[in-house]
């Protein structure tokens, strides 16, 4: 009877029944709307707009002027600084990624033991992560001060004349990397900790019975079984290296002598200090493509060294 009525009378109920997915979706829509609008207006919109802007010349004050591939052409063939930023990005990545991948692993292994007060130490290592980069950078600015900073003071006590750190073209980039590694250790450590705790205890017990040393266990069990975590940290670290902004914005403004001019800072300079919005947008897309390619390559290569059990 019920079935009969609903099939004959085309009321709202039948519509609901015929398209159950759609009706659920419509019910959810009002709740999702704020996020959806936010996504279209603040994420998808700008993504599309900045792609189009990359083909224009725009100073914010007058309407954008279409120049086709002009920005990309100027960037690749006429802007030595663009290549400087790429070189700097490569240098930063080579210094930063080993530090951000290896150091936290060792600390995570240390923090994974059942020791008194281990939660306290974990919190201490995590502290830099929850501190704003601006505050961190200002503190490091003092640490790095060549005349009065504690780092050079300590070096002097052991008879070494410390470098000028962020004021020196040779040492500025290593100094930024040192600060960034220090800041990221806690975060990567927590991820490693989660990975380490996913390795069954039995593997280590069996290995110990077979006579494997702690080092052997570390290299033969921990490293392979934690490789998915390592892979994740590697990807995030490389992406992070290519997007360095605050460190150079606060500490060095890209100097001295362009030694710390990163791509993100260069984009900021071009777009928001010099008002070359089109050029800035084009640069952003080049950065996007570089990150995309590097990440795709890593996903290809991971099959050779990442083990999922």
């Amino acid at each position: 009877m019920v079935a009969n009525r609903s099939s004959v009378q085309p009321n709202s109920r039948s519509w609901h029944k015929r398209f159950p997915g759609l009706s659920q979706w419509l019910e959810a829509l009002p709740y999702l709307l704020p996020t959806i609008i936010g996504f279209f207006v603040f994420i998808l919109g700008p993504v599309i707009a900045s792609f189009l802007l990359g083909f224009t010349e725009w100073d914010l004050l007058t309407p954008p002027k279409w120049i086709g591939l002009g920005n990309y052409q100027a960037m690749l063939f006429d802007t030595p600084l663009f290549w400087t930023t790429l070189r700097n990005a490569l240098y930063y990545t080579l210094l930063f990624v080993p530090g951000a991948v290896i150091l936290p692993l060792f600390i995570a292994v240390l923090m994974n033991q059942h020791l008194r007060g281990v939660t306290f130490y974990r919190s201490v290592y995590f502290l830099p992560v929850v501190t704003s980069t601006v505050a961190v950078a200002l503190v490091w600015q003092w640490l790095y001060n060549p005349e009065f900073g504690p780092i050079n003071y300590l070096l002097k006590m052991v008879g070494i004349k410390g470098p000028a750190w962020i004021a020196s073209p040779e040492w500025a980039m290593p100094a930024l990397v040192l600060m960034s590694v220090w800041q990221v250790i806690g975060y990567n450590m927590v991820i490693y900790l989660a990975g380490l705790q996913g390795i069954p205890e039995e593997y280590y017990e069996a290995a110990a019975i077979d006579g494997a040393t702690r080092w052997r266990q570390f290299f033969s069990i921990t490293i392979p079984l934690i490789s998915p975590t390592t892979f994740f940290i590697l990807i995030v670290s490389i992406i992070g290296s290519l997007q360095v902004f605050e460190q150079t914005y606060i500490l060095t403004q890209g100097g001295p002598a362009y030694a710390t001019l990163t791509i993100a800072y260069y984009i900021y300079q071009q777009a928001f200090q010099f008002f070359h919005m089109g050029f800035g947008a084009a640069l952003s897309y080049v950065l996007f493509v570089i990150i995309l390619l590097l990440t795709l390559i890593q996903f290809r290569v991971q099959k050779r060294w990442v083990f999922y059990n």
Partner: protein, 451 residues
Amino acid sequence: MTVKQYLRWGRFRHWHVLGGAVLLAMLLAACVASAPGGQGSASSGGATTIKLMCWEGALGTKDLVTNDLIPGFEKANPGIKVEYEVLPWDQFWTKIATLAASGTMPDIYCNSVAYIWDHANKNISADIQSLFDRDLKPDDYFMQLTDVERYPDNKGDLYGFPFRWVDGALFFNKDLFDAAGLKYPDDSWTYDDVLAAAQKLTKDTDGDGQPDQWGLVAGMDHIMLDSIIKSNGGQVVDDSYSKCMLTEPTALAAIQWVTDLVQKEKVSPSPTVAQGFAQGIFPSGKVAMQINGSYQTAPYKDITAFKWDVSWQPKGTQGRVVYGGPDSLSISKNTKNLDAAWAFMKYMVNPDIQKRGDLIGLGSIPILKSAAFSDDWLKAAGQPEHAKVFADSGDFVKGADFGSQWIEWRATIMNNELNQALLGQRSADDSAAAACKAIDDVLVKIDKPKK
């Protein structure tokens, strides 16, 4: 993972600003283009409210502006209310550009020498020449400072008016001069005299074979280098603002001279060493002389370790050229409250405001001559003994080729390229050549005047 990535992108919040600005401007560009540019007073009946926008520090502390400056104006001009908004320098110009694109500019705003030309060229600021001619007398003001407010070629009409200005001066450490038994710098000094004194004032006080007290600070900034170039008869860019002139012999010699201060004469610390002093190297007491902006008086007034004073920016082979630049107010082209905005501009240059040291600031010079030479300003607490040099230097002031993209080609590119000579990374010649190549790339793309 997603949270972390979001944070990484989110922390670089300018991505969002870029996105927001893009959308906003694209939506509004069309509307603005067709909207009529209404001008004239809209003070029909009730109170007129004008909106004033400045960057932090342009007009004094926010407290002083909202509790003193603006109430004073509102009292003197019944029927006009002022709404004040202040932003950090970095955000100010992006916001102004966005407001201009959306047709919602403040009625009156603080304008910088770096942007006055662009704002006139792009119809953002109003021509106030006729208002000036009607109400104010040129003889009362340091009019040479208003050249950079004139569009299109420093000779046209006024697109802003200064309420104060700053210039270059030779700051010197009296204690170090006394210790070396040297005469203080005076108005006869040339750059050669400065170098000769610097050689006598550079010392190795701790006996490690390296100087740790220097005679002078070398800088490739516009206050020091550009003044040396011009006082020797050279140019930084040509008269049409389209070509870099740094590779010409006179300019090149000046760049070489500044480079030699560090690399050959060793009377100046390298930028690497100088930057190590967090409060600046002059306050550290380790240098005897520094050519810098008069506005350094404000931070330097706190120096207690030694006595210091100021003297004239030295003479070159072709006479004296002192750097000078105004801090200005501009009125928006599309304001509906032109009269009220102009009333505020006049208020800022009236004697009661101009002679107040707390409003105009130490080392910032009143644009009103009578105030600049009054004891109220000259003897304000914290001024150096010879603060009158700041005001007297007005006769020798030249701007620093302010114009479109000045922040890009001068304050960024030229500094960065020439600093490599100071750092000893390459020769002065190579640095000048590299600077010119990069500067020409910027200048060639600059908009030409619209009229």
